[in-house]
């Protein structure tokens, strides 16, 4: 033991002064948060409040609107537009399922089978983003045009017979039918499904596949018992990123559909921007928000993934 080493600790401690972290230091996170949170409060939360108040107003454009706590608007809106609500959920749900069915093989292909083509394939998945989605959606008008090659082939393969039996198409047309709208929605949101799927598949250690094979799992069993469960976070965020925007979309219904395929987005848009019946429009968008939030909450609870951000 060196001579200068301190005496052992116990008992020799004098009452020391207590230090506290400085106030300035403790305020740092609040200063960082302030501008952005203020922005969200003023331009995201406050508008919700205004919309809530708008939804219980009555009056007309000429005489002005007043808050009269007229909750009847919600009931009226719901009874008048429930077909559009149901249609929105149906189309968005179908598109989400199609996105999952179409997107999973591609994400799997890129994650496990692409080898040196991986980066090229990823670029090809993201590349369509670089062209305005409205322009690309308009291209579907050409692709699905009456008497065009796509429709001819579908017709020849009797696919259209099946879809028209399902009520998705009418006769030998695809454009201006529910099928066209769903097809457009699926197309528009596919990248939002593929990217999260790819991210969670890519994280899977390929040795797990070998381990499963080693433990007597056939490839299909390996997929069901190992790969798919491990990709659940990607499935959950992919379906949310697809379903949520699809449920409020009106672009596809407007460009590719007809008056029979109007979704709730179309109603809200025309109430707000053309008919100028603000209370009804506000009530409709609140109902949509409530439906989506409830469905998403239940879905996240059941899927068991809470940390999505």
């Amino acid at each position: 033991m060196t001579a200068t080493a301190a005496p052992p600790v116990a008992g020799t401690v004098t009452e020391p002064p207590v230090h506290k972290a400085s106030l300035r230091k403790r305020l740092v996170p609040y200063w960082l948060l302030l501008p952005g949170i203020l922005w969200l409060l003023v331009f995201f939360v406050l508008p919700m409040v205004y919309q809530a108040s708008t939804s219980v107003q009555t009056g007309s454009l000429e005489e002005g609107f007043k808050v009269t706590w007229h909750f009847q608007t919600y009931w009226d809106a719901l009874t008048e537009y429930y077909p559009q609500f149901l249609r929105s959920l149906l189309y968005a749900g179908t598109a989400t399922v199609l996105c999952l069915l179409l997107g999973y093989p591609l994400a799997y292909l890129i994650a496990f089978k692409a080898g040196r083509w991986r980066n090229l394939l990823l670029v090809l998945v993201i590349a369509p983003f670089f062209t305005s989605f409205l322009i690309r959606t308009l291209a579907w008008k050409t692709i699905l045009a009456d008497g065009g090659p796509v429709v001819e082939v579908l017709n020849a393969l009797h696919v259209l017979d099946v879809t028209s039996w399902l009520g998705m198409t009418e006769g030998e047309r695809v454009l201006a039918t529910p099928l066209a709208v769903v097809c457009g929605l699926t197309y528009n949101f596919l990248p939002f499904m593929i990217l999260p799927l790819y991210t969670s598949l890519e994280r899977i250690d390929t040795r797990l596949h070998e381990a499963a094979g080693d433990l007597y799992a056939r490839p299909s069993t390996t997929f069901r018992k190992v790969t798919f469960p491990l990709s659940m976070p990607g499935v959950v965020s992919g379906t949310l990123l697809t379903f949520i925007p699809a449920s409020g979309d009106y672009v596809n219904a407007e460009l590719l559909g007809s008056t029979d395929t109007r979704m709730i987005g179309n109603v809200i848009q025309s109430q707000y921007l053309r008919i100028l019946d603000y209370p009804t429009a506000a009530a409709l968008s609140f109902i949509l928000m409530a439906i989506v939030l409830i469905m998403v909450t239940i879905y996240i609870r059941r899927a068991g993934t809470e940390d999505l951000v």
Partner: protein, 383 residues
């Protein structure tokens, strides 16, 4: 490098650290002499890293003061302290090459011509040809040397090392232990080294402080700690100890006589960390390598005056230089004995009746009011 007389000691006076209701470090007084190689040894969560971080200025103490030589630095931010750290897993800047990593501290202090110093420092750690590489292109041992160079180039008064060898494999770790020791002797800077590896602490440090539960259990030179542990924690954490619960028969003279399960043992009173009283309890400790083993048939060959204990061999393992036996004895269920492989007695196999004996001078006494197993599990975890 730094003049040996400059700077002065590191003095911690009553420093402690609380996180909410959890106390990471209990009020602690510690003086680390100028130019020494000082190790803070303990299992994870014992408060050793927190103590180190308070010296570095990365953690502000809840109470107490930190002084370097004559100046108090308790409230100085880390960038104003003449102290540098070699971080656990090195924390090399991934976006800078090796040269810029090493030059970082000099540049921040506004030194313009850094080339000569950086080149010299990279030579010292034998990494001259790697200057233009990025950290991720180096091996673990090379990264470790960059971390040392990056800190040492600033000529700190104190160099703090936070588990600096933890990420290296065993062979490299041995090599780097000697290397660090060489550098320390060469530059004469005070090194404060935090580690959970008792062997590492004992090989490198002049003084070791064993920490447990936010307190320093014992402080001293490695041999002193090993030979004269003051608590069961130190006895078990540093190497292996056989601790026997015994009753004091006679105390007061230069020797203490105790009895355990019929065996009468003696030990020097000077080696008791507590004052034994006749009729009281005492934990009697002896290191496994201090004991000898003979077959029960040859009990009469044991010299008079040695401590003797009977037992049965429960297990034995051949290590090469030695054979390690676990002895089932009435005084203690699992006594460990290491016997050098000079002349092997074939009868010493599991099941054999044996007699253990050792020089009473090699026995130490501990306060019986402690957990007899303190520090045992942590050794296994650290190994």
């Amino acid at each position: 490098m730094t003049d040996k007389t400059a700077g002065g000691d590191v003095r911690l006076a009553g420093i402690s650290k609380h996180y909410g209701s959890f106390t990471a470090v209990h009020p602690l007084d510690l003086t680390i002499p100028q130019g020494s190689f000082f190790a803070l040894l303990g299992a994870s969560g014992c408060g050793k890293t927190t103590t180190l971080r308070m010296i570095a200025g990365l953690e502000e103490p809840s109470t107490g003061t930190v002084s370097l030589g004559d100046s108090e630095v308790t409230h100085l931010p880390p960038y104003k302290r003449p102290v540098n750290t070699v971080f656990q897993s090195y924390a090399l800047f991934p976006h800078l090459n090796i040269y810029e990593n090493v030059a970082f501290g000099l540049r921040r202090r506004g030194i313009k011509s850094v080339k000569k110093q950086v080149d010299d420092m990279l030579e010292l750690v034998e990494l001259g040809q790697f200057a233009q590489r990025k950290p991720h292109q180096l091996s673990g041992g090379q990264q470790q040397r960059v971390a040392v160079a990056r800190a040492l180039i600033n000529h700190p008064q104190v160099l703090l090392l936070d588990e600096p060898l933890g990420a290296l494999d065993l062979k490299l770790r041995r090599q780097m232990q000697l290397e660090l020791k060489r550098i320390q002797t060469e530059v004469g800077i005070t090194f404060v080294h935090v580690t959970h590896d008792q062997e590492e602490a004992m090989t490198m440090a002049d003084t070791v402080a064993v920490m447990n539960g936010g307190r320093v259990e014992q402080l001293g030179a490695p041999a002193e700690l090993y030979e004269n542990p003051k608590t069961t924690f130190v006895a078990n954490f540093l190497g292996t100890s056989n601790l026997i619960e015994a009753e004091v028969l006679e105390a007061g003279g230069s020797d203490v006589t105790v009895s355990s399960a019929g065996a009468t043992l003696r030990l020097p009173a000077a080696r008791c960390s507590t004052t034994p009283k006749a009729g009281g309890k005492l934990l009697v400790g002896v290191r496994p390598e201090k004991m000898s083993l003979v077959h029960a048939d040859e009990e009469d060959t044991v010299a008079a005056g040695r401590n003797k204990v009977r037992g049965t061999i429960a297990a034995s393992s051949f290590i090469g230089v030695s054979t390690q036996y676990v002895i089932d004895s009435p005084v203690c269920p699992e006594l460990e004995v290491y016997v050098q492989n000079i002349e092997r007695d074939a009868r010493l196999a599991p099941g054999a009746e044996v007699v253990l004996h050792w020089n009473p001078e090699h026995t130490f006494g501990l306060d019986a009011a402690q957990d007899i197993d303190a520090g045992i599990e942590t050794v296994e975890e650290g190994a």
